[in-house]
């Protein structure tokens, strides 16, 4: 008999003020830009300033969000640390490449190279809390975070671990933004976040963030929700998508009617939002709908923000106005489905349930 998996705590550093778990999108920062940077928490409260100066942004954000999650779960260590990141500490990679070229492969120092390793965040967290357990890093674009969820869920269900720190982190840096704007992945003109879905332009607004959660097979007072199921697919055609979602729900003994809220990953890219709008008008037309990328902006692990949002909604039973995509209401929000894809690839479905 496999064990039930719970989300026992959350920790978020994002382009909204989400680092304080006692709040829930109380203040919204509205961007009118092509990029959005994290709202910095008080890093000094978490990291000695001397260390913080040399730290990559992704490590700093993750130190705060992971410590927040551990604190809220009331634990100091975990059995495993699993991190998803599309690009790792890409800022250090870029600087190191720049240094190689600018200095013709001379006068280089190792710090940037070391931090550029994709598994730096998972390694640093393990080092910080002295966790000698299982340590994994997934780096598969828009399903990096979901890959981590699948791994953690498998271990908790089989009782191979009791508490796992799972997270998703990506940092935004200049060369990456500038180069991806060249190929149309990032919008060329600023867009008002509140009108993101009506932008009718190519590309997305790029952001960054770090989301960590303690997943456990033991429910406790701090528990937010149950993680029922996660699936990732490298491809799904638009035509096949509704069928894929329905069979995912069936496999998890959940009817379409049972979905009290669907959280969709629309990012305002005129070329790819069709995946979502078809669902909104199709199989989810009678389902309350929410979206979030006008708040989080887009990045490989932006779905960590959706997971955070879903967990918060289930715990507080409050759906903030700002995330509502339609005006349908469920009397209670018991079951949430999160669907995400990026540029038509790397689709993911996550099913959460109130407990």
């Amino acid at each position: 008999m496999s064990k039930t998996v719970y989300i026992n705590s959350v920790g978020s550093v994002s382009v909204q003020k989400t680092f304080d778990n006692s709040e829930f999108l109380n203040e919204i920062t509205s961007y009118n830009d092509t990029v959005a940077s994290v709202i910095n928490p008080d890093y000094k409260a978490f990291i000695p300033p001397a260390q913080a100066r040399r730290m990559a942004k992704g490590i700093k954000m993750s130190t705060v969000s992971s410590k927040t999650a551990l604190q809220e779960a009331g634990i100091e260590n975990v059995d495993a640390i699993i991190v998803g990141t599309g690009l790792g500490c890409i800022g250090d990679s870029e600087k190191f490449v720049g240094d190689i070229i600018d200095n013709n492969e001379q006068f280089l120092t190792p710090t940037r190279f070391i931090q550029s390793s994709h598994n730096t965040v998972a390694g640093q967290i393990a080092l910080g809390i002295g966790c000698k357990g299982y340590n994994f890093t997934y780096v598969h674009a828009a399903v990096s975070f979901e890959s981590s969820l699948i791994d953690a869920k498998m271990q908790l269900e089989n009782d191979e671990a009791k508490n796992i720190l799972v997270g998703g982190v990506d940092e935004m840096v200049k060369h990456h933004v500038d180069s991806h704007r060249l190929i149309g992945h990032i919008k060329s003109k600023p867009v008002d976040a509140s009108k993101l879905l009506a932008s009718k332009t190519k590309g997305s607004v790029m952001g960054e963030g770090s989301h960590f959660f303690v997943l456990s097979n033991k429910k406790q007072d701090s528990t937010y929700a149950e993680l029922v199921a996660v699936e990732c697919y490298n491809t799904i055609s638009q035509e096949n998508l509704p069928k894929k979602i329905t069979s995912f729900l069936e496999e998890n003994q959940t009817s379409m009617k049972a979905i009290d809220l669907v959280i969709l990953g629309n990012n305002g890219d005129v070329d790819f939002d069709q995946y979502y709008t078809d669902l909104s008008k199709g199989i989810f037309r009678e389902t309350p709908q929410a979206y979030y990328k006008h708040l989080s902006a887009e990045f490989d692990t932006a779905s960590g923000f959706a997971f955070w949002l879903g967990a918060k909604i289930l715990k507080t039973q409050n759906i903030p106005e700002v995330v509502k995509l339609n005006q349908l209401k469920a009397s209670n929000t018991r079951t949430i489905l999160i669907y995400n894809q990026y540029r038509g690839e790397n689709h993911s479905l996550v099913l959460l349930r109130k407990c």
Binding site: V97, I101, S116, V139, H140, N234
Partner: protein, 400 residues
């Protein structure tokens, strides 16, 4: 005692061969693939040796019928090895069972990014490589090349233990019934980025690497891709597959000691080996051969040697060797390359020499296998350790 997961196919490309047979032939004839670098223009060319695959990207792209300079080298190598593995398994339709692809890489498309880093802003000639920097992009290209659709496809990057972890995850997903079949492994090409990175860490040897030798001077970087096909009992039975070997045990732990160095006594390595033995339900004495991580850096070989002594006991360490003197250290793929070599060791009942070994290390009395040796081999233990404290061990066995 838990049952192993069947390995039904394998593919590899490395500095000692473009397929499994060529690799095996080099291994038993003591033919190393370490040379001066020829494909990358680096000022360190005279101070380093590498395990380079001599075929050029253009030659590979012609062979794969890809447009010239369309892919970075990691996905190209990955496609070649993954296809060989699938072919060996006898798979004709990759989508006929619930199949996953778990690849791993550390550099992804860095070889191209570093080449066109500034040029992107002057001309659109090489914009096809911009998105190739993402580690996941190399895996996506492999998935496309093998025709995998609507499936679980992911990428692991845990530095030099990546492919071992990909194999471990694949085995776990088969065991838990989430997948019927999974292609697991990794791919990493040489790049200026890693050459200079390891250079700053001062762990690159200027000559042939000498694992477990007192006078070892560091590692030679290498490039490779290696994949295994793992299949569930259901598929094996239905398709009447020939089983090459089994993934019997696996263990992952973190040294939690230092971002780049291993702890002096190899705590993480000990934990990884213990867990793998536990999963396999084997006593240390059941291990017939250890394919060591053995990078030939002062730090790794000392730490790993001590860890082996802790696991097996003084005087009881089985025959062991590092094959990195053949291939160089292929970073993410090391665990994949060495899994293929472990299967070959089981199939042929032979173990490979630890080339270039002369002087035993003064810290302990451990002497690697220095000649090809034939003996009945039932269980091989293979170690892979990486930056970030990542330690992984696989046990590959003849019987389930």
């Amino acid at each position: 005692m838990s049952k192993g997961v069947a390995i039904t196919g394998m593919g590899i490309i490395s500095a000692i061969g473009n397929n499994v047979l060529e690799n095996y032939t080099s291994l038993i004839s003591g033919k190393a693939g370490i040379s001066k670098i020829s494909h990358i223009d680096t000022i360190h060319a005279d101070e380093i040796m590498v395990g380079e695959i001599k075929t050029t990207n253009t030659e590979f792209e012609n062979h794969l019928e890809l447009p010239e300079n369309s892919y970075s080298r990691s996905p190209i190598l990955g496609i070649i090895a993954a296809r060989e593995a699938i072919q060996q398994a006898g798979i004709t339709d990759i989508n006929d069972y619930k199949t996953g692809l778990i690849s791993s890489t550390t550099v992804g498309g860095m070889d191209k990014s570093e080449q066109y880093f500034y040029e992107y802003f002057e001309s659109n000639a090489h914009w096809q490589h911009i998105n190739g920097l993402h580690a996941g992009d190399s895996t996506k290209k492999i998935a496309d090349a093998i025709g995998l659709k609507e499936s679980f496809v992911t990428t692991i990057s845990t530095a030099c233990s990546s492919a071992a972890n990909a194999i471990m995850l694949g085995a776990r997903m088969i065991k838990s019934g989430q997948l019927d079949r999974v292609v697991v492994g990794g791919t990493d090409a040489l790049s200026k980025f890693t050459i200079n990175g390891f250079k700053t860490l001062m762990i690159l040897s200027d000559t042939y690497n000498t694992p477990f030798d007192e006078n070892r001077k560091g590692l030679n970087l290498g490039e490779a891709a290696a994949f295994l096909v793992l299949e569930s009992d259901k598929v094996v039975e239905k398709e009447n597959r020939k089983i090459l070997a089994y993934v019997k045990g696996f263990g992952n732990s973190n040294d939690a000691f230092h971002q780049t160095a291993s702890s002096e006594n190899g705590d993480g390595a000990v934990l990884a080996m213990q867990k793998a033995l536990q999963v396999a339900g084997l006593k240390p004495s059941a291990i017939d051969y250890v394919n060591a991580h053995g990078t030939a850096t002062p730090n790794n070989d000392l730490s790993e040697g001590r860890a082996m002594l802790r696991i097996f006991g003084e005087g009881n360490v089985p025959e062991f060797s590092s094959t990195k003197a053949y291939t160089g250290h292929t970073l993410a793929v090391a665990g994949g390359v060495e899994a293929v070599y472990s299967v070959l060791a089981l199939q042929n009942n032979c173990m490979y020499p630890n080339l270039n070994f002369k002087t035993p290390m003064k810290e302990f009395d451990l002497i690697p296998q220095t000649e090809v040796k034939e003996k009945e081999i039932k269980h091989v233990l293979s170690n892979s350790f990486g930056f970030g404290g990542n330690c992984s061990t696989l046990i590959i066995s003849k019987e389930a």
